[in-house]
Symmetry: C2
């Protein structure tokens, strides 16, 4: 039997929440999909695009009858959301999320929900460099990896249902400890975002220092485009991710700074074999990524 | 009348030199294309792939009859090449290159050639993350930008012929001062390469620090793949580029370090609006790149 919900309420109907809503509706995985959000225009667009059936701005109207809530807002807002409507949920309701940080956030979320309401941390590794329900699509989770982060408190049935729903929308599901999740994603996602944002900002400074009316970006090839693609991501979302994964991210940025500094020293000291060694190591590591 | 050469000799038959040879041969832009290189296997492969007609390891046999030499080796080797065979070239021969640095290298190359042999600096902004003649292809320069870097010493007819040849292989040609070239490419290409190499090496360190048998790269999405694609580039080639563009690159790495450090401080101090401001600036700059 496939998984099925009576009412899924999606809080934060952007790219991630909106795409999920679209697929749930298309595949009949929920009888009703309700959107909760801040701006009416966005919610109207979500209806037009088939991501939700109706929307509510007042949780008192959105939550009754819900058997699954998907939190898809920037992670810093979880606490205020859960405090606002956690108490409105019926016993047995599952609250899950799509956030890019997990460890302390899962602990916090579990502690803010009443007994009998089940929190299951989830993180579909999917996205685009653009955000908003306007770019939501039906194949966003196709062949994507979705990480679930159960704890000793997680209700096994709720966990299984969340696994089933992500598998139903086309993802491969894998469970991982919430704190290990943050370490791993810090390395493969959050640090590269810090690098891309900083590189783009450095280029803006260099543009200002460029003589005459030369536009640096007129001379860029595909390399720069690829390297900085993720720099176009949402400021609000990434601000929260960086803050919530601060304890992992700071030493990771420092590891990166160390390698940058090493390369700079080799170049300064005209140490060709040092440079070549660093590049060869990087190339070998990159080739394993393919 | 289209441009035409009797014999083009390509020194360094890799991705860049090999692709050029293939197109010259296919389009009849040269009667003969001769390859000069270090390893016989590579030169044999170049013949098999149609990148050259024949090869020579001895410049004494390669250079007579040549009216265009294309230097396509790592830039540090230019001087030893020009010293070895510059004197063998007939008056009126053009020597051009495909190197990613220009300023001091063009000065050096001009000074090493005998009077009557014309140097024209060229830099086709094209490439792949892999190297070698095995990945050479006929459409590498299609719609690419090719930068020419004439100086007050450049022979106008030679410059015009080099312009014509790059236009004939499908590129858009633009002239730029050789020193401005190095500033611009330092920013849009060399710095992003430093960043990608350092990021990949930081990830290797973080992998070593990862507990258990978790493989970080199992959890990476398209973001990491894009951000580090250029980290798979040739160590030898990039070593030389970094060294020859050292004076631009060091302050550029420092501009990057400054933004990284700023982001780190904001994260450390839990300064959400500082983080958000940095990201928003980066996103706006990135969106202008599209």
């Amino acid at each position: 039997m496939t998984v099925h919900f009576k009412q899924v309420t999606i809080v934060g109907v952007g790219l991630i929440g909106g795409s999920l809503g679209m697929i749930l509706k298309r595949d009949g995985l929920a009888d009703h999909v309700v959107g909760v959000g801040r701006t009416i225009e966005n919610l109207e667009l979500a209806i037009k695009l088939g991501a939700i059936d109706r929307y509510e701005q007042d949780p008192e109207r959105a939550m009754p009858g819900t058997d699954l809530v998907i939190l898809a807002t920037p992670v810093e807002s979880y606490a205020s959301h859960l405090k606002k409507w956690g108490g409105l949920l019926a016993e047995g309701t599952i609250v899950s999320d799509v956030g890019s940080v997990k460890g302390p956030l899962v602990e916090q979320s579990e502690s803010l929900l009443p007994a009998g309401v089940h929190f299951v941390g989830a993180h579909p590794i999917a996205g685009k460099e653009t955000s908003g329900v306007g770019v939501a699509c039906l194949d966003l989770y196709q062949n994507a990896l979705c990480l679930l982060t159960p704890t000793t408190n997680t209700n096994p049935e709720a966990l299984y249902k969340i696994q089933q729903i992500w598998e139903a929308v086309g993802s491969t599901v894998r469970s991982i400890d919430p704190f290990l999740h943050d370490w791993v994603l810090g390395a493969v996602s959050h640090l590269p975002h810090v690098a891309a944002f900083s590189l783009m900002n450095a280029l803006s400074d260099l543009q200002e220092q460029t003589k005459g009316d030369t536009n640096l970006l007129d001379f860029s090839g595909g390399g720069l485009r690829d390297t900085t693609r993720i720099a176009a991501s949402s400021p609000e979302m990434w601000r929260d991710i960086f803050l919530w994964n601060r304890d992992n991210l700071i030493p990771m940025i420092e590891a990166f700074e160390q390698h940058l500094g090493r390369m700079k020293t080799y170049i300064k000291e005209h140490d060709g074999s040092g440079i070549e060694h660093e590049i060869a190591k990087a190339r070998d590591a990159r080739q394993r990524l393919k």
